[in-house]
């Protein structure tokens, strides 16, 4: 009877008002069989981490187009640690310069995906990373 689903929170921090990309990802992950909680625009790091805690997600996906990733991501990670969400996968999507990608990965981001990324590749990344963490 046990029925487990991968639960993902997709959030759009920062002040820019475009969430087309975030919605495309949300739908793609749904089509890959995941339950996606979509929280909408202009989320603060506090709101994102609180929602992730209440929803007990295994994955947080941040869509950041504003260029503020080097400020937002460390704050999200700090709050995740404070709430004991260290085992939650953190993914970042958006326009991220190459030099920042490695900095984000060093901070603990599990994957960084640019605008053109194949959505199936993101779903696969989530599935394989979670499967590896469970074994």
């Amino acid at each position: 009877m046990t029925e487990e689903k991968i639960r993902v929170l997709i959030a759009k921090p920062g002040l820019d008002g475009h969430d087309r990309g975030a919605k495309v990802i949300a739908r793609a992950l749904r089509d890959a069989g995941m339950e996606v909680i979509y929280t909408g625009l202009r989320q603060t790091p506090e709101m994102i981490v609180e929602a992730a805690l209440q929803e007990d997600v295994q994955v947080i996906g941040l869509s950041i187009l504003s260029g503020a990733h080097m400020a937002l991501v460390p704050r999200v990670i700090e709050l995740m640690q404070a709430e004991g969400l260290d085992d939650v996968l953190l993914l970042v999507g958006g326009i991220i310069p190459d030099e920042d990608v490695s900095a984000l990965v060093d901070m603990g981001v599990s994957g960084v995906f640019g605008p053109g990324t194949n959505t199936e590749a993101i779903a696969r990344h989530i599935q394989t990373t979670l499967a590896a963490a469970h074994s």
Binding site: M1, T2, E3, E4, K5, R7, A26, R27, L29, R30, D31, A32, G33, M34, E35, V36, I37, Y38, T39, G40, R42, Q43, T44, E46, M47, E50, A51, L53, Q54, E55, D56, E83, G84
Partner: protein
Amino acid sequence: MTADHTLVQSVLGGDRRALARLITRVENQAPGAFDAVSLLYPHTGHAYLVGITGAPGTGKSTVVNAYTRSLRAAGFTVAIVAVDPSSPFSGGAVLGDRIRMTELAGDRGVFIRSMASRGSLGGLAAAIGDVVRVLDAAGFDYVLIETVGAGQSEVDIARMAYTTVVVDAPGMGDDVQAIKAGILEIADILVVNKADRPGVKNTVRTLRAMLDLGHRLRTVGHHSAVVIQPGAPPAEQVYDFWDVPILETIATEAAGLDTLREVVEQHRAHLQESGTLADRERERVVSELSTRLRDTLLARLLDQRAPDVIEDVIRRMVARELDPGSAVRELINGR
């Protein structure tokens, strides 16, 4: 102590992370979650359960957001369960109700959980029932359950709530659908949201006419018959009806939501004074017991019979060699 015992203790102690994790285990019907719910059961019964349902896009989540703010201002803590359908194709879901509830972020007196329907036949109401019980045991004063009014499962979920609020809006063109879904029949309170839009009066009038067609005065006794003995003096209780009110709200401006809070309170008082709350609780327990018994016995039986035995019964039924009644007898007693 098992991991689930520890989780239960943490939930009772107000640990929000433990609460979130236990809800997941209950939702997944994970081994051990069953015991966790039994441990929590003695701690339930405090929360007042309100169902909020209606057609897609009528503003249910926005109403829940504004209603919750009103409840918080009045000093109550609130848990919200927002249910959206799963995709029948992939089994996944996009759960978007939180978008309308960002004003509640950062408030420790509020806990919001999104749930996918997961399409398990009849299982949804059972899973939500357990999730609601966990939130109840965690000590929230109100548990609000948002569902999209679409069919039988909403009716089952409404049966679980003490007060069911049905949300409509002008210009949805779904008034007829609403009756079809039997949704008006489950309403204790009707809300016409988006009262800032043209056509509100029309929607209110239509709903009132529909209520007058037979649903307006609802016997509070539900299935327990109202008996009027010949010659007996008219007793107050016999004529104790709840007149389904129609409220107008503009949820985006939080207009009319204090009234909704007060009317839910009135309905609650009405249920208590008329004794209906106890009736409803009994009815809910009976219906839950029978559903669970049926599901469990069915699962156990199917587990014990080899698939080819069942397949053979089905084949003979299709061939008209075996009637359904005899098929059941054969599956239970053997051939």
